[in-house]
Symmetry: C2
Subunit: 344 residues, 2 copies
Amino acid sequence: MCSPPLPRAVSIKEIARLAQVSHSTVSRALRHSPLVNPKTAERIRRIAEESGYCPSGPARSLVTRHTETIGVIVTSIADPLHAEVVGGIEEAANEHGFSVFLANSNADPEREFHVVRSFQQHRVDGLIVAAPRVGALHMAALSRMRIPIVLVNNQHPSEFVHSVAIANVDAARQATRHLIALGHRRIASLGNRFGYQSDTERFAGYRQALAEADLPFEPDLVVHGDGTPGGAPAAMARLLGLAAPPTAVFCYNDMTALAVLRHLRCLGLRVPEDVSLIGFDDLFLAEYTDPPLTTMRQPMWQMDRAAARMLLDLLEGNAAVENVQMPAELILRQSTAPPGSSHG
Amino acid sequence: MCSPPLPRAVSIKEIARLAQVSHSTVSRALRHSPLVNPKTAERIRRIAEESGYCPSGPARSLVTRHTETIGVIVTSIADPLHAEVVGGIEEAANEHGFSVFLANSNADPEREFHVVRSFQQHRVDGLIVAAPRVGALHMAALSRMRIPIVLVNNQHPSEFVHSVAIANVDAARQATRHLIALGHRRIASLGNRFGYQSDTERFAGYRQALAEADLPFEPDLVVHGDGTPGGAPAAMARLLGLAAPPTAVFCYNDMTALAVLRHLRCLGLRVPEDVSLIGFDDLFLAEYTDPPLTTMRQPMWQMDRAAARMLLDLLEGNAAVENVQMPAELILRQSTAPPGSSHG
DNA sequence: GAGCAGCCTGCATACGTTTTCAGGAAACCG
DNA sequence: CGGTTTCCTGAAAACGTATGCAGGCTGCTC
């Protein structure tokens, strides 16, 4: 249970003894304070170097009141989308001398609570929350920490001070427009489980695009998965069972599109000849599927760097924009084509 | 530059004042020490709860000499293989009350050094290194930290005390055997850049399998990429240029196999009808390619949990095995078939 | 009622830093 | 040469927590 007695690291006092000065002087010398004689400072630093001295973060943070760390909460690091999240954040943070605590919540409320608590104990200077639910559920606990918080792609950004999110409405409209421009008239929307804000927004964009093009909105063409890739085939089956099935499907995200893709292949239907598919996210693998997936790219790396920068700005006392919406980008690949075309 | 003055969190002394006791008693009450009267302990805990008290990790670690944190170094979190690494570790660590510091080195020596230094300052209790080069390059700095270190899939495991790695030789032999069993006689090895230990080991397994089956070893059938997926097509082109090209290729990893797959498709060659391909890793996307990729699965999740458990054992003072080799598993999909077959 | 054990509590110190304050020595000015 | 400034240094307090030690109170025993 208890850890073995660690060999105590060499402290500031130890090298004070070696250098025949007070530990105050050592502290100043190491922080390059102008208050100390250049020659003795140099001597002290040399001794510190030789004795392998490394300052204690915990001790320092006790007096400086900050730890130079930020916490990052993510639903699941194994999720390819979130892996990039963490990468961008860590990079930006490191450039500013901050270290990152990482935790994934696994969408488990108990664990989410535990994670927030743990970050609080470690006295992180700031927090980035990329787990959609955490923001909503633990708002009270979070704001009680009284540290800057940035939410990315969170469900209810408006309730928090700072956030960065993808421009869902615009992106969905752009995606649907693309299908319309190809000549599709019967375009389905395969959404996420009901009630997610991102889903609602994307659906709004879909309807806007239809309205712009004077296409009728048909409720039959709107189906929903269950939040997992596994639910997509059933939803797709409902669409195919219609008297007049759609010629194109706007999928909630790439994983959904992939599941649909496999399902269609099993049924002997071709993409994009028989059905066009467009996804959302531009996951790493979207480029490698067959056919490669046309999709709306979420610039995750930039979004995360933006979130990190926003947080770092806040930590350095600068004002920051409250809410940032990043535009998605249409990535044209081979899963969309004009309806009834013999080759994409 | 300087952070704004944080509102000081409520401390142990503050609730001592509220509860009309000394801060020592508060400390004991919160740690559930038997030395304190159950009723006052309860009262203290209630007051602490109400005032939103949260103990300070830095302050505590100053006296307990450990921080309940571990550091994880990884080359790139965006790399899908490593994303899983971190997931398994974080989960296991969290179950034992440890938080994880995450850093990716980006294979940049300066940054690697910086990261190690930073972890040292934060006084992490232990370290997991999943960045192949870090182990070799910064051995001195690492061992000077005098904390337990576990290496995963590192280049020179033997020089460190603890490590977990994939059984490369066995895995490669198994992969090659599979191709031989399908009837292939001309089997190529598309390796990584020269000099990597993992590549050397996999190559050894490849040769062993050939020898077992009394197949001749042909140096022409051994090519190398440049460490990136981009280098694979060129290597593949060399193989196709041979008088007698191979009927099957053992690819160093899945990304390489994918690059080859695309290259072959461009050339109008079919997989597996014209060429069989086998990969290594079983990345998330291997299941979604067309055709789905036959590959050797590295049980990353388990490996990382194993590494984390090993580290946690060490931290708790238990003895631990020094080196663990995990077996890979052959995942049969559709990218391999008997040579010249018309369908997989 | 004296002695004693057991339970609980507070005092003091320590952990490794940073920082304020005061002061000594040197240098400078008149 | 006295006074003042400048430069450097050390003493001391503080950050929030854990814990050894001493001691006070209660209740028990004889």
